[in-house]
């Protein structure tokens, strides 16, 4: 069962996994040496210039008491000069930190995507598509937010705090120590409430996630809601969630408002201490007036970084949860590759299943199946839904691997054969014809990007599918919309068929290829196939009697085992499963 966001978040935060992910990411970032050096440089320059600028204000005050206009102008210019430098260093910080963080993000996303191309196909039946998409895009986004906007300014603030504190100690150690009294108070206070902040934060997130989830469901089910007239019932549910969200937010804002109010008092305390002690020291001549003035500015500057730091804590947590999950995808176990892959350049002899068993989890989908398909043979696989037909195609196409027994191609174990070389020989027409965004042409050419337009058109005509595409506004150049939304099922199947046929493969695996295609077009395809298939090997999975004429041998599956085997006429004569299955349809077919 997939975990909820909160469960994973909790797990990551409690288990301290977040920090190890953070370290791993930083290690990757450090590899971009130059950008990293520039970032550190810019942060240090900003910290130094801020410190010097505030010191310059103090020096100005001293020049006024000393009545030295010349130096006054010099220090005023130093003050301005520091800000001019800071403009450039901050500019550098913004651009390099964005470069670093976005580059890291890009690499993470690319790696996650590449990983998905290499995990076993079974991975996708365990992990939902929505989960993967939201990890790579949403989680990436919260990480991006944190890395691009929050982390650099916090780092810069903290660096400024440290450098100005050091400078203060150098200028006037006693006064500096007095000034620092508020820092521990500030930190202790800020971090003492963090666990409550985190709880509140999780609660508000959960509350809004529930609202969004509920809305998404209700919008999706709006027709059902209206047809059962349960608008009031769902409104009531929504109101409950809405009220929970309100409560959660108010609790959180009580804490955050109190926090910022108390911070102000601590800030005032800090300033007062400096003024008082600094005033005394000035009066006694220990420090100059200028030092006092500068210190006031320094102390005022302590607060922003600490407040920012406390606010960043939440962002850090959620970014690390996201990061950990992205790493989860990147680190997912890849499809095991054979140690010494055997290259397969052509198919010469036979495909054989030796005692093949397979299970998707519970019960056997295939149970000790033995099967021999000779080169050039055309074989039909029939049976009820769930009998194991598609499993045979899944194993043959190497999407899944047998739990037991072996599949051999020309006597070589399929597991040892290099997948890429094998897939050049075998082409599938899958039950669910998947379409990509783009035109009909793009989709047909998906299997062979080098195929020319002419070749595709020729192929379309050869299989008698021209009529199907001619109806479309721009023929084969028609944009099919998101996932082929603008296509009928029949059109999708036609594309899926062409996609496989254009490759002219040696072995064809067809899984219900024409179930949604109208009878005329189906007939045309069948006619063309008869010629096309002459020297090819065909494995055809079907319910439909109309296609059975293409095969010479039939295998009937039931509950994962072969129950009948033989050529079509013989099987039809008998009174076994096959003749039962096809009795009805045969009548229809003869009627035509």
């Amino acid at each position: 069962m997939p975990k909820t966001y909160e469960e994973i978040e909790d797990e990551v935060i409690r288990g301290g996994k977040g920090f190890s992910s953070f370290k791993r990411m930083v290690a990757d970032m450090l590899k971009q040496t130059r950008a990293f050096q520039l970032l550190v440089l810019s942060i240090i320059v900003t910290a130094i210039t801020s410190t010097v600028a505030f010191y310059a204000i103090g020096l100005v005050a001293d020049q006024i008491t000393a009545r030295n206009i010349g130096l006054l102008i010099v220090y005023a210019m130093v003050f301005l000069g520091m800000y001019v430098i800071q403009f450039f260093s901050n500019w550098l910080r913004t651009t390099t930190s964005t470069f670093l963080s976005q580059n890291t993000l890009k690499n993470l996303r690319d790696d996650a995507f590449a990983s998905l191309q290499k995990v076993p196909v079974s991975f996708f039946s365990k992990v939902k598509t929505g989960y993967l998409i939201s990890r790579i895009s949403n989680d990436g986004e919260s990480l991006s937010e944190f890395l691009t906007f929050q982390l650099p300014s916090v780092l810069s603030g903290v660096a400024t705090l440290v450098i100005s504190a050091g400078f203060m100690l150098y200028l006037a150690p006693t006064l500096a120590l007095y000034s620092f009294i508020v820092i521990p108070i500030l930190f202790v206070f800020t971090f003492s409430i963090q666990s409550r902040v985190r709880r509140n934060y999780l609660r508000t997130r959960r509350a809004i996630a529930r609202i969004t989830g509920n809305l998404a469901e209700d919008i999706g089910a709006i027709r059902a809601i209206k047809s059962f007239n349960i608008e009031d019932k769902v409104s009531g549910n929504f109101r409950k969630l809405n009220a929970e969200n309100y409560e959660a937010n108010m609790v959180a804002s009580r804490l955050s408002s109190t926090y910022s109010a108390i911070i102000r008092i601590i800030e005032a305390l800090g300033i007062s201490i400096v003024l008082f002690e600094g005033g005394l020291e000035t009066l006694h001549g220990v420090v100059s007036l200028g030092i006092l003035v500068s210190f006031v500015f320094y102390v005022q500057g302590f607060f922003n970084p600490v407040i920012q730091l406390s606010q960043t804590y939440n962002a850090y947590q959620s970014a690390m949860v996201g990061l950990t999950r992205i790493y989860g995808i990147i680190d997912a176990d890849k499809e095991a590759l054979p140690l010494k892959p055997v290259q397969l350049d052509s198919f010469e002899d036979s495909i054989s299943f030796r005692n093949v068993s397979f299970s998707y989890g519970e019960g056997y989908a295939l149970n000790r199946v033995n099967l021999e398909i000779r080169k050039g043979q055309k074989i039909g696989i029939v049976g009820h839904t769930g009998a194991g037909k598609t499993t045979i195609s899944n194993l043959l196409l190497k999407f899944y691997h047998p739990n037991d027994g072996t599949i051999q191609i020309d006597g070589k174990n399929l597991e040892e054969i290099q997948t890429r070389s094998y897939r050049r020989l075998i082409a599938p027409v899958l039950q669910d014809p998947f379409m990509f965004r783009g035109t009909v042409l793009d989709n047909i050419r998906f299997s062979d990007p080098d195929a020319t337009r002419e070749k595709v058109l020729e192929c379309v005509e050869r299989f008698g599918l021209g009529a199907i595409f001619k109806r479309m506004p721009d023929g084969i150049d028609t944009d099919i919309g998101e996932m082929g939304r603008n296509l009928s099922e029949g059109q999708r199947q036609a594309i899926s068929i062409l996609r496989a046929f254009i490759l002219n493969p040696e072995i064809l695996v067809l899984d219900e290829p024409t179930s949604q295609i109208d009878p005329q077009s189906e007939k045309a395809i069948i006619n063309a196939l008869e010629k096309f298939l002459r020297d090819k090997t065909l494995i055809l999975i079907t319910h439909r009697f109309s296609l059975i004429q293409l095969v010479d041998n039939v295998i009937v599956l039931d509950h994962g085992s072969i129950v009948e085997e033989g050529d079509v006429p013989t099987l039809l004569e008998g009174s076994g499963k096959f003749s039962q299955l096809y009795e009805y349809q045969r009548q229809d077919y003869e009627l035509m």
């Binding site: 069962m1 006024i64 009545r67 006054l72 005023a76 001019v84 403009f87 500019w91 913004t94 930190s97 964005t98 470069f99 996303r109 690319d110 998905l116 191309q117 196909v121 790579i136 895009s137 986004e141 989830g213 469901e217 709006i222 809601i225 047809s227 007239n229 349960i230 009031d232 769902v234 929504f238 809405n242 309100y246 108010m250 804002s253 955050s256 109190t258 910022s260 109010a261 102000r264 800030e267 005032a268 300033i271 003024l275 005033g279 009066l283 003035v293 006031v296 500015f297 999407f399 897939r423 899958l430 990509f436 965004r437 479309m472 603008n486 009928s488 996609r499 009878p519 005329q520 035509m592």
Partner: protein, 583 residues
Amino acid sequence: MKINFKKALSVFSPLVFALKYLKREKKITALVLAVGGFTSAFTLLISIFIGDAVNRVLRSGLSGLQYYVYLIILVSALASVSQFIVSYGSQYLSQRYVYELREDVFRHMVSKKFRFFENETSGNLLSRCTMDIEATRNFVLNLLSQLIPTILMIIIAFYFLLELNPFYSLFFLVVIPVLIYLGMTFQRKQRVHWKIIRDDYGVMNERLQENITGQRVVRGFLGEEREISRFKDTTDTYFQEYLTVAKLRGVYNNLMPLLISVAATAVILYGGYSSIIAVASVGSLVAAVNIFNTMISPVSILGRLIVWSENARAAIDRINEITTGKDEEVFDAAVKKEVRPPVAASAITFSRGPRLILNGMSFVIGKGEFVAITGSTGSGKSTLISMLPRFYDPDSGEISFDGIRYDGFSLPEIRGKIGVVPQEISILSGTLRENIGFGNGEYRDEEIVEAARTAHICDFIDSLPDRFETIVGERGITLSGGQKQRIAIARAVLPRPELLIFDDATSSVDAETELGIFRSIREKLSGTSVIIISLRETGLMFADRVLKVEDGKLKEVTEVRKELLTITADSEKKGGGWNAEDL
């Protein structure tokens, strides 16, 4: 720089919108606004007192120094209290507002007619109900807690500076509008790029979706490397755009503190010079620089807030499309009368845009009758049956139940007695029991089991460890198409409706089970009239009567088998596939 006052004032228009939902909170709104002014004043007073304290130090008056230190603590305490009121109060108001707004939007949304949902993608609706609402809340919060206090702060700062030295206020006066202007320009410039980034983000999502759902095709045809490089191109444009924004941010965000420091330098030079000449106080200079320093962050946010207001206004426009009350129906009228078959339609017509779908159709379906409707794809079968529960109303002609015209009934009266199993099934996350007991009313366990039995899904449910309490949906088990259809059938038969409509509702169920379901409906709901839409032989053979939709009219069918074959052939000739929405 031209200032259009009307346009400038429209920054506050989201507040006007929000106030509609805050009618009961008038006092608190006024309080938050007023206290916002005090907070700004107190904050700036601290700078003034720092200056005064410095003056005291210069005059060697320790007692005076003490006095100002205490004043600073006092004023800070006041600032802290008023800050609390402003931030908590504005949170409170924004949460009240968003609570009421959500309720309102939700209620309007569920009141919309079916027609409304045709032109809206669910993603679009969802983002209005979540992101747009949240955007306006955020703005209301920022308006109350930042924008208005900052504007007041500017005014008060100007006054304080004027008091300290008229020249200081002059510098201030020059620099503030420039800052606001810069802030706004920056936001406008970067907005274009953010839009591109959002678009790129959308493309990235699509690529992911496509790649993951199409994995078998990708693998089967060795498309992995091509897919990886295509994805890299997408993430790369995204990356480049972020860099462009970073360059803009780098300039504008840092130009603001620079400008303030230019003004502060002017203050230092002028103030320092005049202090030396006139032996005036250093304190006022320190206070003025301190005020400039305090103003940096609120003022740089100001420009951003003003532009955010535009986003909030756009969000409000989109929300308004839902809350205007157009295309709505009354779903909560009282139930007084009983809807009962026979159901009769006479000469109903219906068109969708230029396309005439129903062209004067008439039929009568008697009590307890089992009628099948067939016809090629796109012929209007679904449109026809969606007239009966009034999902749509015919353009002309009328429908009646037991001789009473349908507009003599309220919607709850009609929909309470008509059970529909649509083509697309919605399973909500929750237990199977909740999904079957979807409608209004409390059902006993036996009734739920009975409905499941009628729908031939009971054996499956019994095979699950948690049986009817099994969780389905996002966090639970996934149901196959046929299982979903049977759950939806159980859902529809549970309230024992007078009329049951199956819109191709057994397409994913095998013929044997399909027949079983029809039989048990016949048996257990003998008084219920049933209409099924079907292209399959089983259904058509089972029905008492078969009607065929052809050219917007209905005709009685006698030879079912032959008819079925012509229908498939028809679909081919007409090219029913392309964009044919079977509604």
